[in-house]
Symmetry: C2
Subunit: 169 residues, 2 copies
């Protein structure tokens, strides 16, 4: 009943802070130095490829409570999501899109919830600048992105979705 964290990135520390004392976590990262530092701080770490089938089996993805995917590389995230989804069709997978245009792709790969830190940041900055509190609007936005609704949307025209501007990737 652990939360699996696949990979290491800028969101890892905030995630670990949020989960502290609320869930047992297991982090998979190929970076031996980071792994050692996390181990020294008392975290459970598996030094391995976070998108490898063998890694996820060793990390008991089939009995995990949820999977969090948040490296700084959306391609790596996509592969890790595909692996986790393949090994456990029912697990709740959440992911962060470093680039907004990848949000739908990470959902397609199998993530139930995908957030964009840049979109969240932009929302709060804009609301703060023009005097809104920001939470009401955000709630609508997050509800808009519930997996069910997105599934409906993405079923309509896959080409359009994948054909969007890839920006500065």
């Amino acid at each position: 009943n652990h939360v699996l964290i696949l990979g290491h990135g800028e969101l890892t520390e905030p995630i670990l802070e949020e989960l502290e004392d609320r869930a047992s976590v297991l982090i998979i990262t190929p970076d031996t130095e980071r792994a050692q530092r996390l181990t020294e701080r008392g975290f459970d770490v598996l030094t391995a490829d976070p998108s490898g089938e063998e890694s996820l089996e060793r990390a008991r993805v089939e009995t995990a409570r949820a999977v969090i995917v948040a490296t700084n590389n959306d391609a790596e995230d996509a592969l890790a999501i595909l692996t986790a989804r393949q090994l456990n069709p029912d697990i709740h997978i959440v992911a962060a899109a470093t680039h907004r245009e990848n949000e739908n792709k990470l959902r397609r790969a199998g993530a139930n919830t995908v957030i964009s830190p840049a979109a969240l940041g932009g929302h709060f900055l804009a609301e703060s600048a023009i005097g809104g509190r920001g939470l009401e609007g955000l709630e609508t936005k997050l509800l808009d992105e519930e997996p069910e609704k997105v599934m409906e949307q993405t079923g309509v025209d896959p080409d359009e979705e994948f054909g969007e501007d890839a920006g500065d990737d």
Copy 2:
């Protein structure tokens, strides 16, 4: 009564989307190519140094409604905040810290509100993973970061604040 956006970064597009039809904006960026693309899309752009006094005077910072500072470089952000605060002691300045350890420094530079997209992202990922809705906890967190309270905190021990681990900067 315009919103001044100083610099260009990953949050610029989300910010422009949020402000669309809600405020008139003026973007200052030194990047001529980006400036041209934004102009073609109908935005008011000043191609200039976003932390220069002359730029901010030309952009009428003294009559602006608010200033948003969100490049991908916290050092540039700090300089832009210092310039804006110097030219308009009363204006509302909001900023994004690319690295969380710079949040307090951007407040010190003169920003009224500083958000961390990574902290926001980590919050929502963790809440989604363990089944919370996330908005209640986030509200508490954002209220904790109101400028007044932070001022109180930072007044206590400046050395400790600036002595924190600078991470992978």
